[in-house]
């Protein structure tokens, strides 16, 4: 078997995947990544807090979680058998599992949480084998909706901890501490530079703890607990048991699909980051990455932690520092495990005042919500898709705004209709399936050689793209190929009669065919020289053919019985 070729290193990357940075650089970067991820510790904290787990139990569970993150980061970086993308793509706790986990804790306590997390991990492992088949039913705009609703539902869960009907009234001290925490995070993020900006969430947490200490929210009781725990100890696994509830399958399936899709996205960013010649996503490493992600969540379920996912901000950090070496991933994994063996640290996190926790949660959620909206906006949306997304958002917000709406529903349905995140996703999936009916996957148009209306040709692609929910960038590329090829064929190939255009689409492919009576269009692999382009129209046509070939992912020119068909294929 030929050795795997390392991708060409982009100019901004200092240490590529296989390059080992000096020890100090490796250690420094590992600390930065863990600090960046630390904001996501609020998800398990919130879940365990709502499950009424005592502080010592929360610290122990958090320690287990940190060790799982360490194992997950290793698994993602190594490439063993079918597992691991091979990238520096650390594991983190995720907001995606927050809503389903809260449902599980409410319905059956920690055993149900761990059992369903194990189920979700197993499912993600299976999904990793079926990614391409699942994608058409989970188009990009629905992935965006899911991310948006993850943000909204997590934000609401956090706010309920402060303002819910069963929550203790918020004191003025808590308002102050929450304000200081949120304001610090925002200030460091907006006005900070370099490392200060990158670690804004951690700095805000520190500011929140200090404010809580001054305000009396952290005091003798918490410090007594801290004083009693060891500096180094193995976490206890006594609390771990598992149960399963069929009624919770839907929420965990949706969360699992969401994290699998997000893992694909994060690994694609990794691919682009380390390869100067990157053209399109490589589903092989994405599949390996999703498998590693699923195994990590399985480990979380087995050991007693909450669901995990790949950390997108960490990939951003690697890109910003130029250190993309997988040796840093090994160091991050080791650091997570060391932190998991440090009860003083996990206990310090476990006593986090709710004001600090909720402020931190709201800060992270701003980014999740906007990310979801941006993903929705990246697709062309026609009336059908607008209705799918619009109705689903309204349904989700209605669940949050009118919790009594589900009163009287059968208990087995509550996990599906009582959660904004789950309900809105189910509405979107159902409407998406319904609205697929009647959408033609192939469209044709005729163009007269005597009257080329470029605007009409572009409009054709725009309309079809919106109906199919195609990516905007792909439709732009296809639109150029259509107008440029028609212009060149009419000018240079003297077609008899008109041209017939056929566009066909599925979730993975967009194919354009331009058929006409006449000689085939030349599609050279080599760019004509500037002199050739300037000296003759033949050179100009060669330039057109070269650009058409480069713009598409695959091209072909078929000539049979005097009739030519030019085929442009775009991966979607």
């Amino acid at each position: 078997m030929p050795a795997e070729v390392s991708p060409r290193k982009p100019a901004n990357i200092v240490y590529a995947l296989d390059e080992a940075p000096p020890l100090l650089v490796t250690a420094g970067n590992a600390v930065q990544h863990v600090a960046l991820i630390s904001i996501n510790f609020v998800y398990p904290l919130l879940i365990f807090r709502l499950a009424d787990v005592p502080v010592s139990g929360v610290a122990s569970l958090l320690a287990v979680g940190l060790m799982v993150l360490g194992a997950g980061t290793f698994l993602q970086a190594v490439k063993r058998g079918p597992v691991g993308s091979g990238f520096l793509c650390p594991a983190t706790f995720t907001a995606a599992y927050l809503s389903p986990s809260l449902l599980a804790v409410k319905a059956g306590g920690l055993p149900l949480l761990f059992g369903m997390t194990l189920f979700a991990g197993t499912l993600e492992v299976l999904f990793s084998r079926l990614l391409n088949r699942v994608r058409p039913y989970f188009p990009t705009e629905i992935s965006g909706l899911v991310i948006l609703m993850i943000g909204i539902s997590a934000g609401m869960a956090g706010l309920r901890l402060m303002f819910g009907s069963s929550a203790e009234p918020v004191t003025s001290a808590e308002w102050t501490v929450a304000g200081v925490t949120l304001a610090s995070m925002v200030a460091f993020n907006i006005w900070g530079r370099g490392l200060v900006r990158m670690l804004c969430a951690l700095e805000g947490l520190v500011a929140g703890y200090v404010a809580a200490w001054f305000a009396g929210l952290l005091g003798g009781a918490q410090f007594d607990i801290l004083a009693r725990v060891d500096w180094i100890a193995l976490p206890s696994l006594q609390h771990v048991s598992w149960s399963f509830d069929l009624a919770l399958v839907a929420p965990f399936v949706i969360a699992c699909l969401a994290v699998a899709m997000k893992a694909v996205g994060t690994i694609t960013v990794c691919q682009r980051m380390v390869d100067a010649d990157w053209v399109r996503p490589n589903m092989v490493s994405a599949t390996r990455g999703v498998l590693a992600d699923g195994i990590t969540t399985m480990l979380a379920g087995i050991a007693g932690a909450v669901g995990t996912n790949t950390s997108t901000p960490s990939v951003g950090l690697a890109s910003a520092t130029g250190v993309a070496s997988r040796y840093v991933a090994y160091a991050i994994g080791a650091l997570f495990i060391v932190l998991g063996l440090t009860p003083k640290l996990t206990t310090l996190l476990a006593v986090m005042p709710r004001a600090v926790m909720v402020a931190a949660l709201l800060f992270t959620i701003c980014f999740i919500v906007i990310n979801g909206l941006q993903i929705i906006g990246s697709r062309l949306l026609d009336a059908r898709r607008t209705l799918v997304i619009g109705a689903a958002i309204i349904a989700g917000i209605a669940v949050e705004a009118f919790p009594t709406m589900t009163t009287g529903a059968p208990p087995s349905l509550l996990p599906m209709i009582g959660s904004s995140f789950v309900f809105s996703t189910l509405i979107a999936l159902a409407l998406n399936l319904l609205f697929r009916l009647g959408v033609k996957k192939t469209a044709t148009m005729k163009v007269e050689t005597t009257n080329i209306e470029s605007k009409r040709i572009e409009q054709f692609m725009e309309t079809q793209g919106a109906q199919w929910g195609a990516r905007r960038d792909i439709i732009d590329r296809a639109s150029f190929n259509l107008t440029q090829s028609i212009e060149t064929i009419v000018e240079g190939c003297e077609p008899q009669g008109g041209l017939e255009i056929t566009a066909s689409f599925d979730e993975f492919n967009l194919d354009l065919r331009v058929a006409y009576l006449g000689p085939p269009l030349e599609l050279p692999e080599k760019r004509p020289t500037n002199r050739e382009i300037m000296e003759s129209e033949e050179g100009q046509r060669k330039l057109a053919g070269f650009m058409l070939r480069r713009q598409a992912d695959r091209v072909a020119a078929v000539h049979k019985g005097g009739r030519s068909t030019i085929i442009f294929h775009f991966d979607h």
């Binding site: 150029f480 107008t483 212009e487 060149t488 000018e491 382009i533 330039l543 057109a544 650009m547």
Partner: protein
């Protein structure tokens, strides 16, 4: 395609709106030939409102740049962004012309 020209000091700024393809390229060619007809002239081509450019348009730009070289003139392109920039990249033209950001930068570069 719509062409709008204004004179700023010694610099002629030609703004292009719409599409440059085989049907509109001759009009652009005529305008650029007129502008670059004399020796040592300064021309800025503002493409910030350009929506589309085909191989026919690139040919005209190459010819104009050649003419500018021959007559000791200066041709500067500005406002090349978004989809149009991608097309410049696709055809390997980004390094062949003097391309700057805003119109003011173009005027400064041409002087």
């Amino acid at each position: 395609m719509d062409l709008r020209e204004e004179k700023i000091g010694e610099v002629s700024v030609v703004g292009v709106t719409g599409r440059i393809d085989s049907s509109t390229a001759p009009a652009l060619e005529k305008r650029l030939t007129e502008n670059l007809g004399a020796a040592q002239v300064r021309v800025v081509l503002d493409l910030s409102r350009l929506e589309y450019i085909s191989s026919a348009g690139f040919r005209i730009l190459l010819l104009a740049a050649k003419r500018a070289d021959e007559t000791g003139s200066r041709l500067v392109l500005c406002g090349v962004g978004g989809k149009v920039r991608q097309l410049f990249d696709l055809g390997g033209f980004l390094d062949l012309f003097t391309i700057v950001g805003a119109r003011e930068d173009g005027i400064a570069a041409a002087q």
